[in-house]
């Protein structure tokens, strides 16, 4: 009798898992993973013989497994109970911070990117007469090193910044400035980006470097636009406990001024995409995503045309500087397939800013494309 119950409970549990997984409606996109989920593979003799059908079936089953996010959080809880402080490359740190790890395995392309950037800067200076500025944003795991779990190692970021400063003219160091403000809300707790405040401090350093007065936070009218943001490190850590939601801060649209924003597939009149605030990845509030090329025409007619070569850190930096230029052209080298030197000529570029965060600068494999001219 008791054996019967034991076996039946197992049988029912197994049956529920398989029936629900196979029968429930399927989602096409996973918000937490920020990717399209697998579709059911087509059956063909070739796909079965080379085993690809079986592999695709496995992915499909796993992607649509009943209660997928629940199971992921069960695993994260178990890892926590085993006193592990890291999950999927994210540390669970102090003060509710989920910090993106940055170890030596991320330094894949640092040397070649640095070389490419130095060559690009020299070429701009000597050939085009443009003094490029470079901002490489510190990463949270370094600035907030005191929030990391014990013995968790981060790459020696100071050494990397020193290398960049030595080889690239116009480099604007942020480490000391961020260190002074380390008690402030510089980075999101649940996302790998800097906050509107972190971006603001970077803006002040940028203004100082180009000899321009920076607007005060009051002038920029920095304000919260949402307070229920759970970003990428939250998704990767996989606990989904709904705690430590982040607040997105941004300058008021009135500070940025009127503009026309020409993206890859649409044209709008603002940097901001408020409709993204109702989706999972609310950081897309800035520019709505990463287009290969964005051209912004402002109402300022001072004849200054900025080229901003950037990763997603620049998206929340842009609102502070956009009003200082007649046009701003943003290039994402991961997706932009045109030639940068030609573009500089065609768009009458007068100023160039290179803005990446240190981790993507070390990992990105597309940065050397900035030098390609044929």
């Amino acid at each position: 009798m008791y054996r019967k119950i034991f076996i039946s409970v197992f049988a029912v549990f197994l049956a529920l898992l398989s029936v629900l997984t196979l029968a429930l409606p399927k989602k096409e996109f996973s918000d937490n993973e920020n990717r399209a989920l697998a579709v059911f593979p087509t059956v063909s003799a070739a796909a079965i013989l080379d085993g690809s059908f079986m592999e695709d079936f496995s992915s499909w089953l796993a992607d649509h497994f009943v209660g997928r996010d629940f199971w992921v959080s069960v695993k994260t809880v178990c890892e926590k109970m085993l006193l592990k402080t890291e999950n999927n490359g994210v540390y669970s740190g102090k003060d509710g911070y989920l910090l993106d790890s940055f170890d030596a395995s991320s330094l894949l392309h640092f040397d070649e990117n640095l070389k490419a950037l130095a060559a690009f800067e020299e070429r701009l200076r000597t050939v085009c007469g443009i003094e490029m500025k470079t901002i490489v944003a510190p990463v949270a795991a370094d600035v907030f090193a005191d929030k990391l779990p014990p013995f968790a190692e981060t790459v020696d970021c100071g050494a990397l910044f020193a290398q960049i400063a030595a080889e690239v003219d116009g480099f604007i160091p942020l480490s000391d400035l961020f260190d002074q403000h380390r008690d402030e809300y510089l980075y999101y707790r649940t996302d790998h980006h800097w906050t509107g405040l972190g971006a603001y401090y970077a803006y002040t350093a940028f203004c100082e470097a180009i000899g321009q007065r920076a607007a005060s936070p009051q002038e920029a009218m920095i304000q919260p636009v949402c307070d229920d943001f759970f970003g990428t490190t939250y998704s990767r850590y996989g606990l989904f406990d709904g705690k430590n939601a982040d607040t997105i801060l941004a300058p008021d649209p009135a500070f940025c001024g009127g503009m026309t924003v020409q993206k890859d597939r649409e044209t709008t009149d603002s940097i901001y995409s408020p409709q993204k605030l109702s989706e999972k990845d609310k950081y897309l509030y800035f520019l709505g995503g990463n287009d290969s090329k964005v051209t912004i025409q402002t109402e300022n007619h001072n004849g200054r045309h900025l080229l901003l070569i950037k990763d997603s850190y620049a998206n929340s930096f842009l609102p502070y500087i956009v009003r200082d230029y007649e046009t701003v052209t943003l290039l994402d080298m991961r997706y932009y397939k045109g030639l940068v030197p030609q573009l500089i000529e065609q768009a009458n570029i007068t100023d160039v800013l290179f803005l990446y965060n240190l981790k993507s600068f070390a990992e990105d494999e597309y940065i050397p494309y900035i030098n390609f001219d044929e």
Binding site: Y2, R3, K4, I5, F6, I7, V9, F10, A11, F13, L14, A15, L17, S18, T21, L22, N32, E33, N34, R35, L49, D50, G51, M54, F57, S58, S59, L61, A62, D63, F65, R68, W71, V72, V74, K75, T76, C78, L82, L83, K84, T85, E86, N88, P149, P150, F151, A152, E153, T232, S235, R236, G238, D281, L284, G289, N290, S312, R334, Y335
Partner: protein, 467 residues
């Protein structure tokens, strides 16, 4: 297909158990054979033909040998051919590139590599097939007259890809006469869940640490030792977990396979270790190589030769690479030393020293086992002896985050948890309802956590935006 996958646990297994239990007895074997072939074909859609070939070939040889029982000479020739053909299959599909690579070292011309991919489980099913034909030859097992039933013995999915190597005589009766019982099914489920947890929760997680450390250069000594210990745990829990799952599934389906692991890491001598580690393989080599070679019956010199041959082959069976051969001979030498030298004063060594010494020998054995490239091996040995410092932050981080896991792994490698379970069951004999609740919470809980880890292993957040 592997047991530790969602498609096995949530699609294949429920289906096969449902059909096997519900079907009339005469349909059970065809159902199991069909699903076993499907199970193999899922991972090896082409090589399944190779397995079917091996089934038919060994079936025919077994029957011919049985028909020739009055003719000793003919029997012998048939057996010789069967062994040659089986070894040829294994040689071609497992060892071709090893031989080509080594020939290239001595030949003036460069032979192209054949690029043959190893069929999953070929080492296991070839050895099972040979054991059958040899047993029929020796009259140790009855001949199987039905090719489908013989095919079931070779391809039976619980033990197909990672053992244990089941001798035909063990299951000969159960192939045609087996009974299913609630008691055995319940035990089988529990055994399966334990095996799954060993594989998914223990082996995979500590294996992740090993794969990180073994890929890192210039490890500190503490990290290197941690890595070696992690690998030792990974390989034990992986392998014995598969055996547990096989034995458990066997119980549910009405088969009784022999135990394959018996807490090897509590051994206090190398001889004892090999009596507890991969028992079905040691038994195979003892039965079909060591004893036929004469065993210990023709003087010490022959015995030493036989032991070294057995361990050379045992090593080579584990993989087509020199380090496995070395690993086998390494054990051969330690076993000889124990047999002929240490045995005389073994009782005078304190138990703790014997145990630690055995574990150290096993640990270095695993380092030898892990690296197919000599350069990597020596680099790792260097790290173990402090070539890159004693300790660093990485080591401290790994130690602090793995400490609890290591304690759990060490406990799980001893008979203590099983003893605890047994005592608890006896204590609660008078309270079956409470026992049922505890068992459900524990086994269903473990199973659910395994599912969580399996689902999570496919969780792959994409940091960049969709494009």
């Amino acid at each position: 297909m592997v047991f530790s996958s969602l498609e096995f646990l949530c699609v294949f297994l429920p289906l096969v158990l449902l059909l096997h239990t519900a079907a009339p007895v005469r349909f059970r074997n065809p159902i199991l054979l069909f699903f076993s072939l499907f199970f193999y074909a899922w991972g090896e859609p082409v090589y399944v033909l190779l397995m079917i070939f091996s089934i038919v070939m060994n079936f025919l040889f077994g029957r011919s040998i049985d028909r020739a029982r009055e003719n000793a000479g003919k029997k012998r020739i048939l057996l010789t051919w069967d062994v040659i053909l089986n070894l040829a299959l294994l040689g071609v599909f497992k060892y071709t590139d090893f031989f080509i690579d080594n020939l290239n070292l001595i030949l003036p011309v460069e032979l192209p590599s054949a690029g043959i991919v190893l069929p999953i489980g070929i080492s296991f099913f070839t050895f099972q097939a040979m054991s059958y034909v040899i047993d029929v030859y020796r009259d140790d097992a009855p001949v199987q007259e039905n090719v489908l039933d013989f095919g079931l013995y070779i391809s039976l999915f619980p033990q197909l890809i990672a053992g244990p190597i089941v001798r035909y005589s063990t299951v000969a009766l159960e192939i045609n006469h087996r009974t299913l019982s609630l008691k055995e099914s319940a035990q089988g489920i529990q055994r399966f869940v334990i095996g799954l947890a060993k594989k998914v929760l223990l082996a995979n997680n500590i294996g992740f640490l090993w794969s990180q450390l073994s890929a890192t250069e210039d490890l500190s000594a503490v990290s290197a030792w941690l890595g070696a210990i992690a690998y030792a745990f990974q390989i034990y829990f992986d392998f014995s977990g598969y055996s547990d799952m096989a034995i458990g599934l066997g119980h549910i389906l009405g088969f009784h396979f022999l135990e394959n692991f018996d807490y090897p890491y509590i051994s206090s001598s190398i001889t004892e270790f090999w009596n507890r580690w991969h028992i079905s393989l040691s038994t195979w080599f003892k039965e079909y190589v060591y004893i036929p070679l004469g065993g210990n019956r023709h003087g010490t010199a022959k015995q030493v030769r036989n032991i070294l041959i057995v361990w050379l082959l045992t090593g080579f069976w584990h993989g087509a690479s020199w380090n496995f051969i070395l690993w086998g001979l390494y054990y051969g030498v330690f076993l000889l030393v124990e047999k002929f030298i240490v045995r005389r004063f073994q009782s005078k060594i304190p138990a703790l020293f014997r145990h630690v010494g055995t574990l150290l020998i096993v640990l270095f054995g695993w380092v030898l086992f892990a690296f197919t490239e000599t350069g990597d091996l020596f680099a790792y040995l260097g790290s173990l002896f402090g070539a890159h410092g004693f300790c660093d932050t990485t080591a401290l981080y790994d130690l602090s985050t793995q400490a609890l896991s290591l304690v759990i792994l060490a406990l799980a490698a001893t008979p203590l948890p099983a003893k605890f379970g047994k005592t608890l069951r006896q204590k609660l004999q008078s309270k079956p309802a409470l026992l049922l609740i505890l068992e459900l919470v524990w086994f269903l809980g473990l199973f659910a956590v395994c599912i969580a880890y399996l689902v999570d292993s496919t969780y792959n957040p994409f940091i960049y935006f969709r494009f």
